[in-house]
């Protein structure tokens, strides 16, 4: 009657320690034993086996897998907040494309917000207009809404991994470092291409697990059309900070596992005479 209890305890211990860790330590121990025996018996075969096992034991204990979350769970968690944002925008009647504002619009340059115009024109508000009402959700002059973009936390993660703030950098820095960050560091794409054409920036992301999230986000029509998918929003925040210009997500397309996002850089308003 004691056996099932023992089995479950053993399974729990293995689960806590991790199979890879146990295997690594076991190989390391066996390797050390083989090496010790090889010295006693002067056996070169045992010494080679021992060295090999010690090496792979060290490798297995050192190179452990990183913590991963299943894509399905990640999508479910992301969708609920995006769904509520979609509902709010639908109820409030906001359907015009959001303008991602650069740092000069805020007192704190690290702030990143999107302005949703009530009227159907792309003319961005002036920095003075926003600075006086930046703490409000709804702005009176001009009439609109100031909201935290859905990709802001992702932009903060980009900055954390790059150990800088996009506010301090320019577009050429983003062009140089963002592809490497998304492919090598965060491993969320196979390749990233950034094309800069005067008032338009196109980012093409190939073979990315984010394409599924983008497809899911399309179901929330209002939020998706206004603010873009979380990845597009994160990149818009980064571009607004780096270029210092107002950004609009012009177009976002997904085919297969590839994503292509077109950003429009809005011209700066000439200073009033």
């Amino acid at each position: 009657m004691q056996k099932p209890k023992k089995d479950s305890a053993l399974r729990r211990t293995i689960g806590q320690l991790g199979l890879t860790k146990i295997t690594g330590w076991a190989i390391l121990g066996l390797g050390a034993l083989a090496l010790a025996v090889s010295i006693v018996y002067s056996s070169s075969t045992l010494a080679i086996i021992g060295l090999g096992m010690i090496f792979w034991g060290v490798i297995l204990t050192y190179i452990r897998n990183e913590e991963y979350v299943k894509e399905l769970i990640f999508q479910s968690v992301g969708n609920s907040s995006f769904s509520s944002l979609n509902h709010i925008l639908q109820q409030m009647g906001y359907s015009n494309k959001a303008i991602y504002l650069p740092p000069r619009y805020f007192k704190d340059p690290e702030t990143s917000k999107a302005y949703l115009p009530k009227q159907q024109d792309e003319k961005p508000p002036t920095p003075e207009q926003i600075q006086t009402q930046e703490m409000h959700l709804f702005t009176e002059n001009p009439k609109g809404m100031l909201t935290t973009p859905p990709g802001l936390e992702l932009t903060k993660l980009f900055e954390k991994r790059l150990e800088t703030s996009f506010t301090k950098e320019d577009l050429s820095y983003v062009e140089r470092n963002l592809p490497k960050l998304l492919t090598e560091d965060l491993e969320i794409a196979q390749s990233v291409e950034i094309r800069n054409e005067a008032t338009k920036i196109t980012i093409r992301i190939e073979n990315s697990p984010f394409s599924n999230l983008c497809n899911e986000a399309k179901a929330f029509t209002n939020a998706y059309n206004v603010l873009g998918s979380p990845l597009a929003s994160a990149l818009a925040c980064a571009l607004a900070k780096a270029t210092g210009k107002c950004i609009i997500i012009q177009k976002e397309t997904t085919d297969n596992k590839n994503i292509e996002i077109e950003y429009k850089l809005l011209p700066e308003e000439p200073p009033k005479a």
């Binding site: 090496f55 190179i63 990183e66 196979q190």
Partner: protein, 71 residues
Amino acid sequence: MTFPLGFWDVSLILAVMAITLLITSELLSPYYGKINIQINKKRLKNAALATSTLFLATVVIRIAGIIIGGT
């Protein structure tokens, strides 16, 4: 009770392991489309570079030995 392997044997083992690790880390690079393998690639790359450095150190020691012994 002596260690049965010589300096060159250890150097050869290090060379084989360094090549294996370097090739593995390069093949697991996201540029080759392997973005779904759950392994810490940064650490794998570090281990590969450390092993290669150790091997190169053995080569340097050997070359230094030849130069010093030759003069």
